[in-house]
């Protein structure tokens, strides 16, 4: 390949890796880099993964990101009413954003400050409560900082491991927070107490940097693996097929 992978391209690969092993379920990525990650996974190591146009159509082939005029290969129809059925059936893996996320994987997109009268009203909880107790769920954070990675979230939209455990077996039965991917690294909860662990750091990111940008103690493996580079095939797909306009580079800082 001509150019080394950028940080954004590493992030795409880290997002793609979150979908590894999912098989024939619906990938619902929110945001540019998660969308590219899911589609990259579908074009390479998860060929049966189902992805949509971000609306009601299941695609049989990816469309270049941001090209609204590109012809769509439509495989099937998935309107919101049916997507809700899919969510409650457990056949979906959503990668959502997170305004706040804590060390147990609780996520907040609803509001900042007390819910009764928020300092900043955001979207509302959307589908996060149902996603997290029914399906594997991951999060994408383009700006890793202590304002996002907080000791405790203000309004639990997506349910983390501690809250699911406290709610009982019907909450934990299908609960899994698979991965958190940020501009600094990827993180999982594959520890005894399901506390957030560094899974990989992107090249050039030091332990000090990620520690400083995180408002709670991370579980640190020794040694710390580095986020893998895209393969030549993946890089070509990303640059030539999935995102020729380079939208991925605009979603993260640095």
């Amino acid at each position: 390949m001509t150019a080394d992978p950028t940080r954004a391209e590493r992030c795409v690969v880290a997002c793609a890796e979150a979908f590894r092993g999912d098989g024939e379920i619906v990938a619902s990525p929110i945001g540019v880099i998660p969308t590219l990650g899911a589609r990259l996974a579908a074009l390479t190591f998860e060929p049966d993964l189902i992805y949509t146009d971000g609306d009601a159509l299941i695609l049989g082939a990816p469309i270049p990101l941001g090209d609204d005029t590109a012809p769509k290969v439509v495989e099937a129809w998935l309107p919101f009413g049916h997507m809700f059925d899919v969510v409650w059936s457990g056949r979906r893996h959503v990668m959502m954003g997170a305004t706040q996320v804590d060390q147990h994987g609780n996520q907040n997109i609803a509001c900042i400050g007390p819910w009764a009268r928020p300092k900043a009203q955001l979207l509302g909880v959307r589908g996060a409560p149902g996603n997290t107790v029914n399906d594997p769920t991951s999060y994408w954070v383009p700006n890793h900082s202590p304002r996002v990675f907080v000791p405790a979230v203000d309004c639990v939209s997506g349910v983390g491991y501690d809250r699911a455990a406290a709610a009982g077996p019907s909450a934990t039965r299908f609960h899994e927070i698979r991965r958190v991917v940020s501009n600094l690294g990827s993180f999982d909860f594959e520890t005894d107490e399901h506390r957030m662990r560094i899974r990989t750091l992107h090249p050039g990111v030091t332990l000090d940097a990620v520690t400083e940008a995180t408002g709670f103690p991370l579980v640190v493996p020794d040694p710390i693996p580095t986020t893998r580079a895209p393969t030549d095939e993946e890089l070509a797909l990303l640059r030539d097929v999935l995102d020729p306009a380079g939208q991925r580079e605009r979603e993260i800082a640095g």
Binding site: D55, A116, G124, P129, G130, V133
Partner: protein, 283 residues
């Protein structure tokens, strides 16, 4: 003599009362019955409870203070993710809120449609939902002992929908690729009023699109309003896309009272015929 259900927006508003619970179809800033919402804004109706996959419908009824309570899973303008009027009302504490998971909102409408007081679901367990809705209860399954959320029914006095086509008998047709939850809103409501881009002769809807696009039949509807551009500035695909410029103007009107008054004078306090002329010129 078969029923002719054709009405105007003002006729629909005349059927509404202060304090009613009103469900609004569509999703975010997509296919909202905006011409009826505007007629409500021009009316003196107050103390409304509004149930919606929320967009500018909730935002506008918050801006005028006519919504006493809002029931939602989210409120968004899609291309403008955060709805500024809804935000302002929540942050000022001027509106009561019932916030739900998106799936739970549908479940509450389905419970109302089935005339049962709740339906069980897993969604909500462990999240803030049970904290911020302190009257909500869980239920233990008599079959396997699982503890689940008992999502309370959300019965509606009235549902307001916007379809692509309808006939005068009240059959409504959806030509876009998602009817969202319009059918569920209709089933949950004591009475349903549907506006549409064009009224066609009974029996002619099948010439507009296949049978399965006639999603809400006259069994569920009480009134039909012919409202070309009735969803503007939200989208009504395939008839027209969202009018992003007018949506931006609307979003900007949350900055202060003068801005809202200006938006209102231009886009709300006008006869529908003038509105349509203005909207066509703007898009």
């Amino acid at each position: 003599m078969t029923a002719d259900k054709r009405l105007t927006e003002e006729d629909v508003v005349a059927e509404l009362r202060d304090g009613m619970t009103i469900g609004i179809g569509g999703w975010g800033s997509r296919r909202k019955p905006m011409s009826i919402v505007r007629a409500i804004l021009r009316s003196g109706l107050s103390e409304l409870t509004v149930v919606s996959y929320g967009g500018p419908d909730i935002g506008m009824l918050c801006a005028t203070g006519q919504a006493r309570k809002i029931v939602y899973g989210f409120v968004s303008l899609d291309t403008i993710p955060l709805e500024p009027h809804f935000r302002a009302a929540r942050q000022a504490g001027t509106v009561e809120a019932m916030e739900l998971d998106e799936g739970m909102l549908q479940w509450g409408l389905r419970a109302a449609a089935m005339r049962v007081s709740f339906l069980p679901c897993r969604a909500g367990l462990g999240s803030a939902i049970l904290d911020i809705n302190p009257s909500m209860r869980t239920v233990v399954s008599p079959y396997d002992g699982e503890e689940l959320v008992a999502m309370p029914a959300l019965p509606l006095d009235v549902a307001l929908l916007h379809a692509n086509r309808a006939d005068r008998r009240g059959n409504a047709q959806y030509l876009g690729n998602d009817w969202y939850f319009d059918d569920v809103f209709a089933m949950a409501a004591a009475r349903t009023f549907v506006s549409c881009e064009r009224v066609v002769e009974p029996g002619a809807l099948v010439r507009e699109g296949p049978e399965q696009t006639i999603k809400v039949s006259r069994l569920w509807t009480d009134g039909v309003v012919e409202a070309p551009l009735g969803a503007h500035f939200t989208h009504c695909l395939p008839d027209y896309p969202r009018d992003e410029a007018v949506q931006r103007e609307y979003a900007g009107s949350a900055s202060d009272a003068d801005a809202w008054a200006a938006f209102r004078a231009r886009w709300v306090d006008v006869p529908e015929a003038d509105y349509r002329r203005l909207a066509r010129a703007a898009s």
